[in-house]
Symmetry: C2
Subunit: 168 residues, 2 copies
């Protein structure tokens, strides 16, 4: 009685990115309706030493593409991190979803005990696959999607929890 | 080759709550060091129509205690939602952790296909257990822990991503 690594990861991650794409569209519409330069929102932050919206989206993308690649034993694709507009962020998200959906369950399943090493500035982090997914990849994904949502909300964009969770 | 519902849920949720408790302590210390009434932080919000820090903690708690109870076919304990200070929030978090840790893997495992119904103001939501966990309980948990973190950061408390993720 169990769920697979694939099921625990890929469908929820695709859903989170799909929700992110949908609420980014609402932010872009909000900017357009009020004749605010969309770049103001793309560069908006919660606090001066926090990362702007554009980076929240890029890191959410990096987290899951790196996660899927490592669990499947592949090299993750390198994205240029040069997005500067909502349409470019939408392309980035769609490329990430396409990449996640390129994996078969067979490529991800069975990675529970796989040794995963992350090279961080502070040194190496070592995980087994299951802990990597449940205590690093998924929390990080939701952290950055939530922070993107929080940046929008704190700048007056009308979003609700359902925009974050998606339709049940 | 799989992970169990228990493993996908209880250890990561306990970890997220443990991290939340640790960074709430840092917020309390920040307030004390600067002689700011801690109630200012407990009631702080990202935007006037968003919920304050205290509610973020209460909802994170509710999400996981309701999640574990429903997957195990139990009635969740009712907490009073009357916390108004950091020490009271710490008690709430610890009670929630204790409740999560009271479940055996046998009580949670095998709930992948269990029919779960949530009564919302907007109507009923229906899930099977696996989708309830991966697209509702876990995203909601991380949403509220991240929002608590964001409230603290946007009020100048020095926290870093490691406070959110915990030690690897």
């Amino acid at each position: 009685m169990s769920i697979s690594m694939y099921q625990a990861f890929i469908p929820p991650a695709v859903r989170a990115l799909t929700n992110l794409a949908a609420f980014l569209d609402k932010i872009a519409s909000h900017a357009e309706a009020r004749k605010i330069d969309p770049a103001v929102f793309v560069g908006a932050r919660l606090f001066p030493d926090m990362l702007p919206l554009v980076k929240q989206v890029q890191i959410a993308s990096d987290t899951v593409k790196g996660g899927a690649a490592r669990l499947a034993g592949q090299e993750p694709p390198r994205f240029e991190d040069n997005e500067a507009s909502f349409p470019e962020l939408q392309v980035r998200i769609q490329k990430t979803i396409d990449y996640l959906q390129s994996f078969t369950s067979e490529q991800i399943d069975g990675s529970e005990d796989k040794a995963i090493t992350l090279a961080m500035r502070s040194g190496e982090l070592h995980f087994k696959g299951q802990d990597y997914l449940t205590t690093y990849v998924l929390p990080n994904l939701y952290f950055h999607v939530t922070t993107a949502y929080a940046i929008a909300r704190s700048n007056g964009v009308e979003l609700g929890k359902r925009d974050f969770l998606g339709q049940a």
